[in-house]
Symmetry: C2
Subunit: 370 residues, 2 copies
Amino acid sequence: MAFAFQLQATNGAARAGLVTTTHGPIETPVFMPVGTQGTVKGLTPEMVRDAGAQIILGNTYHLALRPGDELIRDLGGLHKFMNWPGPILTDSGGFQVFSLATQVKITDEGAKFRSHIDGSPLELTPERAVEIQQNLGSDIAMVLDECPSLKETTPAKVRAAVDRTIHWAARCKAHHTRTDQVLFAIVQGGLDINLRATCATELVAMDFPGYALGGFSVGEAPEAMHAALPACAALLPEGKPRYLMGVGRPQDLLAGVASGIDMFDCVMPTRNGRNALAFTADGPIRLRNAKHRRDSTPVESGCGCYCCANYSRAYLHHLFSAEEMLGPTLLSLHNVAFYLRLMREARQAITEGRFEAFHAGCLARWNTAS
Amino acid sequence: MAFAFQLQATNGAARAGLVTTTHGPIETPVFMPVGTQGTVKGLTPEMVRDAGAQIILGNTYHLALRPGDELIRDLGGLHKFMNWPGPILTDSGGFQVFSLATQVKITDEGAKFRSHIDGSPLELTPERAVEIQQNLGSDIAMVLDECPSLKETTPAKVRAAVDRTIHWAARCKAHHTRTDQVLFAIVQGGLDINLRATCATELVAMDFPGYALGGFSVGEAPEAMHAALPACAALLPEGKPRYLMGVGRPQDLLAGVASGIDMFDCVMPTRNGRNALAFTADGPIRLRNAKHRRDSTPVESGCGCYCCANYSRAYLHHLFSAEEMLGPTLLSLHNVAFYLRLMREARQAITEGRFEAFHAGCLARWNTAS
């Protein structure tokens, strides 16, 4: 097993590192485009790679339901199935069970729920989450965790979720056998730094090869997350990769990097791309806006991505007006390229000891954008 | 102006030729993928080119309505707008007015109608059809014709449409000024060979650089079309390219080639691709069918297209089941590649004097497919 993490440079709490996996190296900080159902929506793997992606994410819950993890295993694994030869990280499915499935019932044994596709009854235990990910054959697998919302839960519920997350992590580790795949642990605990510390201490004692912060995803309470991130990240071992799950907006990624996070994933670049919203160095722009109708400039001047190198805002505006598939494809591609470039630039700034100025400069440009 | 047509080989009535245009050469017989709204649906121009396309089609009616031909002209023309550097043929918009617009009223002056997008009142005259196409800057423009359905019209209506088509062709020719673009005439006349002959004689006397057969498109009465094609094609000048508009299925293209047609366009490969139907040398297959769920073979064995080189039927089945955009993209790509390869193989067979056997072999395989 070729997995390793090398810390290459630090700048304040921010870190530049190198993760080595079975399917190749990853320079951190890194953004991982999300390929929920075995495809980064609307993009070929070559487009994703050419946009600069080094690793993508696949979703255990979705793939286990459809087409099925055993089918993917029998066809040679997820890399071959989806034609992505580089590293893949799979989540544990826990977050999707809590956010997508219906009639969810959680016990210490695991989660019982009904499929959001056909209503069929299913069960996800720590052992089953590991089995699925071993069948998929990802380079980095995640433990099953209980993932309560930051907004809608009580202290007692958060504490119970932390206890369960710790026990489930131990069961996942005991069940994990695949030697070409590593298993990362997930620290829960909401906004309670003492609970986060308890969770981290227990999990660090189990000696996982990498650690994630869960429970911060999908734009919930971003200011609270920004405030909590430095202390939470500091709970994780310095010599192992740190992954902030499901986050977020460009400013959230930079807050994570500033706190010492190495890895990120989020559906925002592709989801917003499908909805005609583009991220740029001067802030977001909406391509459906009539002001772009005759605009011969690219989505983002200076961006070297395929979309910006070859097409005008006017053309993108037209594609979205005419509901042509190529619009979502091109703008997803640009947004993924933007996120990837942002992390490359952050890494460069860390290496050169100027991350704080880089961070402040980005925020200033985005906040002043029209 | 670089336009030329060179007849390179004949085999029975079938022909192999070379069309030279401002934006490059075209080996015939050729299939032209349809980019109705300034994009071949779901594909990047590079995908279209890599599938083997030498020329694509744009739709005058759609582009004039949205984003507007003057906007495209101001942004540098259709080639630049859509990032397709090769040859483009634009239709006249007549067929779409008759099939898509509402409240269509035709007089000798032109067609008055309402936009299918927003109901706004519009007019398409022969002069306006030429102006639009000159604004778009296509390599090959088409005259405005009146295009009655093969099935739903009376002999008197067909005769009136032929008369109008002849007069409109003369007006288009008189109005056409762009020297880097040629204007093809369209022969109408339905299934009446005498009317077709009248129409062709009049149009040939006007000395257009190329001729099309109109009124056969979109799968109407294919047997009647197959029966009429040899005589209709023979009405067109031997030394100029012959274009069968809007046709059709693979067997219809081969019937056209056998009759001496050089150019074809049709939405079938992309439309069927979006609906999970793939064309193959052994006949069509439906990727949604459950029998493909675990099939590790490509859509078409031996096909060298990007889809078949990299993905299994099982993956395509999954993409269509999960309603992922990449499914329509990959299968549109394969189908376009199939049509382009069919024409390349037909050309090769003509050059080697074995087109009849090639034609019979294709039909035998398609007819015996399950």
